[in-house]
């Protein structure tokens, strides 16, 4: 289900933990799987669990507990906007409102063309750069004024 490249990445993570502690690599393994497939189907979670030789229920428990795993398909670009108080004081809420209007979706919704999913985020430890938007979990965009958002959307095709 996963490419050799993804499995190699998982192997690198596995090597960080002691023998018989491969369960520790589940968070990274799920992240790597999600990066390749876009979201974590039950089947994929089961596959990752098998690869680590841990019970599937342990992998599922992690997939459902941590907020950045996609348990449903998302758009090509998942945009997570931080609206927590420190960001709100520097445009976080305004950026979220702008995106809602611009994309015509609410939080946790995907545009009809399947391009964007909008999410509301909690503090990303980047409040000094507000407004901040995280693209597909891994790319943080800072100082996202209206103009910066437009520029970003034009890039994300």
């Amino acid at each position: 289900m996963l490419s050799n490249e993804a499995l190699e990445k998982i192997d690198i993570e596995l090597a960080k933990y002691p023998d018989n502690r491969q369960r520790s690599a589940i968070m990274s393994a799920l992240r790597i799987a999600q990066s390749e497939k876009g979201w974590l189907s039950h089947e994929l979670v089961g596959y990752v669990a098998d690869y680590l030789k841990i019970p599937p229920v342990q992998a599922l428990e992690v997939a459902t507990f941590y907020g950045m795993y996609n348990l449903k398909p998302v758009g090509k670009y998942k945009l997570t906007v931080c609206t927590n108080l420190p960001c709100a004081l520097s445009g976080g809420v305004d950026a979220a409102l702008y995106l809602k209007e611009r994309l015509g979706v609410g939080f946790n919704e995907t545009t009809a063309d399947g391009m964007y999913t909008l999410k509301e985020g909690e503090c990303m430890g980047a409040c000094g750069d507000a407004p901040v938007i995280l693209v597909n979990n891994h790319k943080m965009c800072s100082f996202m004024t209206t103009e910066a958002i437009e520029k970003k959307l034009a890039e994300l095709q």
């Binding site: 960080k16 690599a25 990274s28 941590y66 108080l85 420190p86 503090c123 409040c127 507000a130 943080m140």
Partner: protein, 431 residues
């Protein structure tokens, strides 16, 4: 944006230079000399721990526990594996300093962790990095590779006979994993739910082995202390809290960012460094130590110095050093509503008072904000708070109650106005 005063961790770090994070840059700034000296001169664990105590370094993760004392709790002579774990799960709203340490000076943290490992007989370390900062995780991995290649990590470091390996672990979006025992469970590949204490991590930590957990900034301060001197570090601060401290200033200022300043610096000075109030507006209130610390009104804050004791005396906490600045246009009910939502979302759900209580706090503040507040809602909030604080496994429940109590204590009129008139007393603008 990151702006620094010269200090301990950011001393001579040119954050505008894209290569400032590299090993070369660190070595040029005197990096790894503390570690080499310790290994070459076979400085004893006792002597390092004594220095850490003299330095007056208090934990930078929120609780302010003395680092030297924490290290001394480790059963160093006990057989078997022991661990040092760094808490870089920075998710306390208003705090963004650990990210910049890892972005601009990751080797200070690596050197600090190696020295910590040496001092507590731990041969393996993990750095648990907040989920949302994947690029920083990659940066830290790159720095680790450099350190390995240069022989600062691995077997028989610098021919000393001391072995130490260090790995990065990436979180994936759960505030509660910042709590140290939730972090350990998460590191073990489980749901991040805080453990009952005792046993404490020093006796039963990662994989059930003795473990010390420190914040990123605490550990990144270690090389300076052991290179330039514990007393030098202590003297930079105040008697009950040595050193400089990174303050993350966010909100209504002209230059949000991190400022590394001596503990004891007046708040007014920090505000000035951050460029003063944006658009010349009036300061209304400040949360001085991350969102879990009680809010203080401008009148109190303007008299306050930035150190543990001064802020505690003023009725709040230095916490993580996240300084959230609010101007006169902020409706206190609306601001509190957002924080209450956060704690409700992030409660791990293990303890009934926290799981239910954070939900109730949010519900009630939400209805006040939406013009549906009831006459006895403020009393209700108070009594729910009493049923939560101090009655749970971890401090998240207390962290949820502090803002509620302090917002209402200092701005009760706004809450009463909201309940009575069904609208904000100030015409609210976020920014």
């Amino acid at each position: 944006m990151a702006i620094y005063q010269s200090g301990v961790i950011f001393e001579n770090v040119d954050t505008k230079n894209p290569d400032c994070w590299t090993l070369d840059s660190y070595l040029n700034r005197g990096g790894y000399t503390a570690l080499k000296k310790i290994l070459n001169e076979k400085i004893t664990q006792e002597s390092i721990i004594a220095d850490m105590k003299t330095s007056g370094l208090r934990g930078r993760g929120g609780a302010g526990f003395p680092t030297g004392l924490k290290w001394s709790f480790m059963p160093r002579t006990l057989e078997g594996q022991k661990y040092i774990v760094c808490n870089s799960d920075e998710g306390e709203p208003g705090t963004f300093k650990d990210r910049d340490i890892m972005a601009f000076n990751p080797h200070s943290l690596i050197e600090g962790m190696i020295i910590a490992g040496y001092s507590i007989s731990a041969s393996v370390g993990y750095n648990y990095i907040h989920g949302e900062i994947f690029e920083i995780y990659e940066r830290f991995e790159a720095a680790l590779s450099e350190a390995r290649e240069a022989g600062f990590l691995g077997k028989d470091i610098q021919g000393s006979g001391f072995d130490f390996e260090l790995y990065a672990h990436h979180g994936y979006g759960a505030y509660i994993c910042g709590e140290e025992t939730a972090l350990l469970d998460s590191l073990e590949g489980k749901k991040g739910q805080p453990r009952f204490k005792p046993p404490f991590p020093a006796s039963y930590g990662l994989y059930g082995r003795p473990t010390t957990i420190n914040n990123t900034e605490s550990l990144a301060s270690v090389p300076f202390i052991l290179r330039d001197g514990a007393q030098v570090f202590q003297d930079k601060g105040v008697p009950n809290g040595g050193g400089t401290k990174l303050f993350s200033v966010s909100g209504h200022v002209n230059r949000p960012g991190n400022y590394e300043i001596p503990l004891g610096t007046p708040f007014t000075k920090l505000l000035e460094m951050a460029g003063g109030m944006r658009d010349g507006k009036k300061l209304k209130a400040v949360i001085p130590g991350g969102s879990s610390a009680p809010l203080l009104p401008a009148s109190i804050m303007l008299e306050c110095n930035m150190d543990f004791d001064s802020i505690a005396k003023a009725g709040s906490m230095l916490g993580s050093g996240g300084v959230i600045i609010m101007n006169e246009d902020v409706c206190m009910v609306k601001a509190l509503e957002r924080l209450a939502y956060f704690y409700h979302e992030e409660s791990c759900g293990q303890c009934t008072p926290c799981r239910e209580g954070t939900g109730w706090l949010y519900e009630i503040i939400h209805r006040i904000e939406n013009g549906e507040g009831r006459i006895n809602d403020l009393e209700l909030l108070d009594s729910i708070g009493n049923q939560m604080a101090g009655r749970t496994i971890c401090a998240l429940a207390d962290a949820a109650v502090f803002p509620v109590r302090s917002f209402i204590k200092h701005f009760r009129d706004e809450f009463e106005y909201h309940i009575e008139h069904k609208k904000c007393m100030v015409s609210h603008k976020w920014c």
